[in-house]
């Protein structure tokens, strides 16, 4: 690569570099800069400044020319991103279009991405359930992947650290499967969900129903005012960016906080080509960046590097970071880089009607829903498949409009909708097993527009997923019936992996450098000044929405890295 822009090496030198400004990168940046480290955050996308760059946030539904629907042309050009539930007229500008960053699908995989300040933290579903030891002990107990090098006690204080700062609304349920955290006041279950919870307590005492813990501010307002954030207003238009800062995103919270320390530099349009490894010094010395607009390469240097590019892109960066010492990718003596990928199985859903509670309705909107923590195979193995699923649960009073007729008859029908029965629905969130054959790797020929190899993704469902999907539908059907729900309908949409937007693994944590890439501090076994603290580090997936755990591991690892720097160990 000719003409590397290396002028003024000092000018391009920082204490720490964080690759990626999303959910976990924002946390690494906050912790490092608060600890006094001059920190450079590299973001491959454009700048999206909190409040200023949310162009649709206050638009009324009728101000969207197509009422949210994407154009036929857009759907034809971008079949992948169009399958994402949130890719609509109001938030489409926060998603990567298919052509913008091509990849090869060795098996169908919907890779949903957001390249901008804050990444996908602008767009997430904001559910934040903690992991427990039922999750961390999963691989060891059930004999898959490798043992996690950490347990709940290692991360519990860091869960608290993160929850306090981001703001988590939740109810203290006292459950071992999803431990309680630092909660702001909970949101309410609907009458239907509360009834279902009660019915489960009667018929299935080991299957509790709780209100989903979500990253929304519902109390302690003075504390969050210091971040410039206000309370959640229940608009439920989060994907547009929140003008109140009511939900957590890097844009509203960690990045501006880090900026206030004076130690943060945020560089946009910075596509990371690779991490630079110095064979003599036996450590990483910096990061090579291609400017997304000018294609100019620039090298940046730092003592420590955090890789938070978003699971799959983190794999890409490491695979493309080759040197004499690491010809197969950085820290990849084990040969496991890019392997043991996994995701969450969101294929199945169920719904039905309930005839009771006729005298009640709900009012307003709610940024969360009911949640049924994993109950399958929780204490011990009890089915012919491994692990289990959590379930989202949502019950609402239907309002039914009769669309028959035309003219005055139709108009009268439209303007006089009637209360129908309560409707209850659920979707599965299944754990999938990371396998050696589930991989991302570099294509040997195809390059992207920045001359970086394209990724080949090969991640598929297996027999365990099929059995688990069936079991979810059977168990939920029984549970719905036990609660007197009728007109039950089930669906398995067989969506491609990836559409869950919970892709994980490839750079897993573990105890042994032969069978893992990261140690218990998310530090590369073989390159101790490189840390991976996004979804790529996940040894297994469990069922919980993973962002809270990524943020927690990022905060924990960043503080460890600071200590190690002070001790001059790295």
């Amino acid at each position: 690569m000719a003409n590397i822009n290396n002028k003024g090496k000092a000018e391009n030198t920082y204490d720490a570099i964080v690759i990626g400004s999303g959910m976990s990168g924002g946390w690494a940046a906050k912790e490092l800069s608060e600890n006094g480290l001059k920190t450079l955050v590299l973001e491959r996308g454009r700048e999206v400044e909190h409040l200023k760059d949310y162009p649709t946030t206050n638009l009324q539904p009728y101000e969207f020319p197509h009422r949210g629907k994407m154009s036929y042309e857009d759907a034809q050009q971008n079949p992948i991103v169009n399958r994402c539930y949130a890719y609509k007229e109001d938030a489409q500008h926060f998603f990567v279009k298919d052509e913008e960053h091509p990849y090869v699908q060795d098996a169908p995989f919907d890779w949903i991405r957001g390249y901008q300040t804050g990444g996908r933290s602008l767009l997430w579903a904001r559910q934040v359930q903690r992991w427990s030891d039922y999750d961390f002990e999963g691989p060891a107990r059930d004999g898959f992947a490798v043992d996690w090098p950490i347990r709940y006690k290692d991360v519990a204080p860091w869960y608290s650290h993160v929850e306090k700062f981001i703001g988590v609304s939740g109810h203290k349920d006292g459950l071992e499967s999803v431990p309680d955290g630092e909660f702001l006041p909970p949101l309410e279950l609907t009458a239907m969900e509360a009834y279902f919870k009660q019915a489960m307590a009667e018929h299935y005492p080991d299957r509790p129903v709780i209100i989903g813990r979500c990253a929304h501010i519902t109390g302690n307002f003075e504390y969050y005012a210091k971040q410039g954030r206000g309370g959640c207003q229940n608009r439920r238009l989060c994907q547009r960016g929140c003008p109140f800062g009511g939900y957590f995103s890097s844009n509203s919270s960690t990045l501006p906080w880090a900026m206030k320390t004076g130690n943060l530099t945020l560089r946009h349009h910075a596509v990371v080509h690779s991490i630079i490894y110095d064979d003599q010094k036996e450590k990483a010395t910096g990061v090579r960046v291609i400017d997304a607009k000018t294609n100019t390469p620039t090298d940046y240097f730092a003592k420590i590097i955090f890789v938070n590019a978003g699971s799959i892109n983190t794999n890409l960066v490491l695979l493309n970071s080759t040197s004499d010492r690491f010809p197969n990718g950085l820290g990849n003596d084990s040969g496991l880089l890019g392997k043991y990928m996994a995701f969450h199985n969101y294929r199945a859903r169920i719904s039905g009607d309930y005839d009771g509670l006729k005298e009640f309705r709900t009012s307003g909107r709610r940024p969360t829903a009911g949640y049924i923590p994993r109950f399958r195979n929780l204490q011990k193995q009890e089915t012919d498949f491994l692990r289990g699923y959590a379930a989202g649960l949502s019950g609402s009073r239907q309002i039914i409009t009769d669309y028959n007729g035309i003219g005055e008859e139709l108009k009268s029908n439209l303007l006089n909708p009637k209360y129908g029965p309560w409707r209850i629905g659920s979707h599965m969130m299944g754990e999938t097993i990371p396998k050696e054959i589930s991989t991302v790797k570099l294509d040997s020929k195809l390059k992207d527009q920045w001359d970086i190899p394209q990724l080949r993704i090969d991640i598929q469902y297996d027999d365990n997923d099929e059995k688990m999907t069936q079991d979810y539908l059977e168990q939920m059907h029984e549970m719905f019936e036990a609660a007197g729900v009728r007109n039950i309908q089930t669906d398995d949409d067989r969506r491609a992996p990836g559409l869950d937007i919970h892709e994980m693994g490839g750079v897993r944590m573990g105890k042994d450098p032969k069978t893992s890439l990261l140690n218990k501090w998310n530090q590369m076994h073989e390159v101790p000044n490189v840390f991976v603290t996004d979804g790529a580090c996940m040894t297994s997936t469990s069922t919980q929405n993973p962002s809270l755990t990524y943020m927690t591991l990022a905060a924990r690892a960043a503080n460890y890295a600071v200590d190690e720097l002070k001790k001059q160990n790295i």
């Binding site: 009324q60 009458a191 509360a194 229940n234 709900t362 303007l415 209360y419």
Partner: protein, 196 residues
């Protein structure tokens, strides 16, 4: 010029045409904005009549004409439907007048609202696809007409229910809805609000 401006112009233009329906010069002028759909001023007037037959105004509530729902229908067809669906829609729209003449000996655009209501209901509820055949000859393609009318009904209803008028004045939608309540007792005679 963006689509919004085009629509504004179009509304003015087609409004003018309706005042002078015999003006042959503009009648078949393909409106620039709808090159793609090949919608002429004449077809636009047919569509307006169709929308207003589906959702007329009355003493209590404004309807399709005031809300310019035919513009919404065309924008949606033009931007969100496949070329094949667009072709069928446009063919159906073109043939609606002809069909009306054959079935009722009246011009759809000028027939009374009662007659228009009857004709459109008949098209929507038609179960026998053979009726539009006169002897062995297909006079007009009824399936295309029915597709056009059904699609227009769907989009007119969508445009109506998501109009500023409905969402502000009839069934208020609030961007900031206030606190969430999971269990509220329904008052007697309380009107259900789909946006409440």
């Amino acid at each position: 010029m963006n689509r919004r401006d085009i629509l504004k112009q179009l509304a003015i233009l087609s409004g003018g045409i309706m005042l002078v329906p015999s003006c042959d010069f503009s009648k078949n002028d393909v409106l620039k904005a709808y090159d793609n759909l090949q919608i002429t001023a004449d077809h636009k007037a047919t569509l307006q009549k169709l929308c207003n037959t589906i959702i007329p105004s009355d003493t209590d509530h404004i309807g399709a004409d005031e809300l310019k729902l035919s513009d919404f229908v065309l924008v949606m067809i033009n931007d969100c439907y496949s070329p094949e669906d667009q072709r069928i829609f446009t063919e159906g729209l073109k043939n609606l007048d002809q069909y009306s003449l054959e079935q009722t000996r009246q011009n759809f655009q000028s027939m009374s609202s009662a007659h228009a209501n009857e004709l459109i209901n008949q098209i929507l509820n038609h179960s026998d696809p053979d009726v539009e055949h006169s002897g062995d000859q297909v006079v007009v393609d009824f399936e295309q007409i029915r597709y056009c009318v059904r699609t227009t009904k769907h989009l007119t209803v969508q445009g109506y229910m998501t109009s500023e008028y409905i969402m502000k004045e009839v069934m208020p939608y609030k961007l900031v809805p206030g606190p969430f309540h999971g269990k509220l007792r329904i008052e007697e005679n309380e009107k259900a609000n789909i946006y409440g």
